[in-house]
Amino acid sequence: MENLIALLVAAPLLGAAVLLCGGRRLDAVGQWIGTVLAGASFVIGVVLFADMLGKDAEHRILIQHLWTWIPVESFQADVTFRLDQLSMTFVLLITGVGSLIHLYSVGYMEHDERRRRFFGYLNLFLAAMLLLVLADNYLLLYVGWEGVGLASYLLIGFWQHKPSAATAAKKAFLVNRVGDMGLSIAIMLMFTTFGTFAFGPVFSHVGETGEGKLTAIGLMLLLAACGKSAQVPLQSWLGDAMEGPTPVSALIHAATMVTAGVYLIVRSGAIFNAAPDAQLAVTVVGAVTLLFGAIVGCAKDDIKKALAGSTMSQIGYMVLAAGLGPIGYVFAIMHLVTHGFFKAGLFLGAGSVMHGMNDEVDMRKYGGLRKYMPVTFITFGLGYLAIIGFPGLSGFFSKDKIIEAAFAKGGTEGWILGGAALLGAAITAFYMTRVMLMTFFGEERWRNQPTRSPEAASAEPAAEHHGEHAEPHPHESPKVMTIPMIVLAVGSVFGGAFFSIGDRFLHWLEPITGHSEGNSPLSAATVTGGTMVCLLIGVGIAYAMYGRRPVPSVAPRGSLLTRAARRDLLQDDFNHVVLVRGGEHLTRSLVYVDHTLVDGVVNGTAASVGGLSGRMRKLQNGFARSYAVSMFGGAAILVAATLLMRAV
């Protein structure tokens, strides 16, 4: 059985290789090759899952050792895969959602001449992501970690002719690199502390070292997680990442890659459990981010950016849960999975809307679309209900559990975190309702007005067959796009319930992550009630602002907070001023220094030697007699030297 694990990774990797090296002759069938291989990987995953269910909890860990990777004395890195419940969960999520989105892309990218390359990149992403979750040691995980970074770089910048896309891609990669730095330092720390960085040995020996070391490792891992999962302070790239094609946003920047940080933290649970300070930091980051993202989400008029903000905030929830320790690990993952379903669904819905609206992304130019694209409306609506935590839908279960866990942490921390989580729930309800209303309800603001705001112009070549600059004709997307949306909608409706009825998910993951009931000051019922209240408040406000009043098709100036939120709470301005400007000045001055100082010293020496020799030349006046003088003087000096030597 374990030999199948390698195939999980191999299938999409093969697809990537074939598609990227295949050349033009594959252009026609490229998308299908990619989709089929992704599907194949999913099938393998299901087979392995079935096999795993057959065993009892103790024997569910499969290890496949492939080859020794980097052997240098005590530094032994192997290519070894580890398939346990945790990674199984991810495998299913990644391959499942991945395959669906491949399918969706077949329709979405239909008219892009570089489609083959697109699917190659998607497959590459799948392979890297699977490598990430299947790795048995941190170094191999690091490979997947950067692999997904590369894939996301390539996909964000897929429309490279758009400078904005290229810049966004670069930004994403760089910010991620900062996180990767944290990961690599963490690995080095592990090596110096434990002499290895394989999961098993490290986790089993955590107890034998000091808490300081563990805290350091934990913080470094957190840094890595922040980079990959767009947590404060490394969140700035996610918004720009929306420059990529919508399926990419759905798969990478909503469902899977951005959740890698959560995986890392949960996977390293043993370390975090032993380092409370690191855990605290994680929870703080999570809480801050979930509010940050939510606030940003409220102000965006670009539908994808609004969803990106929401993604940020939802991952904030997961990180928060993961930071709570054994109380929260399971729910972090559970929310991760459900979020995978409904957020992917929402993004696909958004994509479908844009598909029908000549790639218009400004929600203020939408409105009343529900009767033109019913399927999209329904699936999107279900996703919406799921994410705000409407009772019975998946979001309800997972998020509710996290809020409970937050309170269960106990003490003032518990209250603060819980409060933040509740507030977040309210804001989530607000901005999602806002999106919903602005897109599908209200009057049809897209009628009789120039479409395609200039910055979005020539955005997605997929639009080129729609009549440009004409009034958009909203229409439902083709089956190949709607089917994935429907499937995801189903998932987002029933997933939560399926997982939590009888704590299926809890029992499934417990052997890996461990679980402990915190001592919650509030009863579960109270928390749920509170959540409901917040939810209603949020929805209510949103309805009051956007449902009852007509939405101006040009954004009003808005309050200070609103404007700040539109600018992603000034994060980019900060980065620009501090890092970009500072960096430019630094490099420029260094170039100058290199040229004048370091090089100048050398050239100066050369020049002085030249001048000296010029002066010496004057001694060579050509008069035999002056030569004779110098000769004679030399002779005199020699005699003197001889005498001295004899005297000494």
Partner: protein, 99 residues
């Protein structure tokens, strides 16, 4: 008197000759000064031969003379040809590395 004085004399003459070489511009005089130096050496040789009580020193002096003769012949010839080309016997006129 100590025969070493001969050596002192030789040194003196040698130095005078050398200085002459440096000071005079007339090639012929310069040449004479060189001869003077050679002679000073000869004197020293002879004195040494007396000191060591064998004739090798004298032999050397003898050879020196012969060589000096040859050298004078050639040197004077050079001076003559130089004079022909430059109509002067001043060594400073030959300050360029070509005739």
């Amino acid at each position: 008197m100590n025969p070493v004085n001969y050596l002192y004399l030789a040194a003196l003459l040698f130095t005078i000759g050398a200085t002459g070489v440096l000071i005079r511009r007339n090639a012929i005089v310069v040449f004479m000064c060189i001869e003077l130096m050679l002679n000073a050496c000869n004197l020293a040789f002879v004195t040494f031969s007396r000191m060591h009580g064998n004739l090798d020193g004298q032999i050397i002096a003898f050879f020196t003379m012969v060589v000096a003769a040859a050298e004078v012949v050639v040197g004077l010839a050079i001076i003559v040809s130089l004079f022909r080309s430059r109509h002067s016997a001043s060594v400073d006129d030959a300050s360029l590395m070509k005739l």
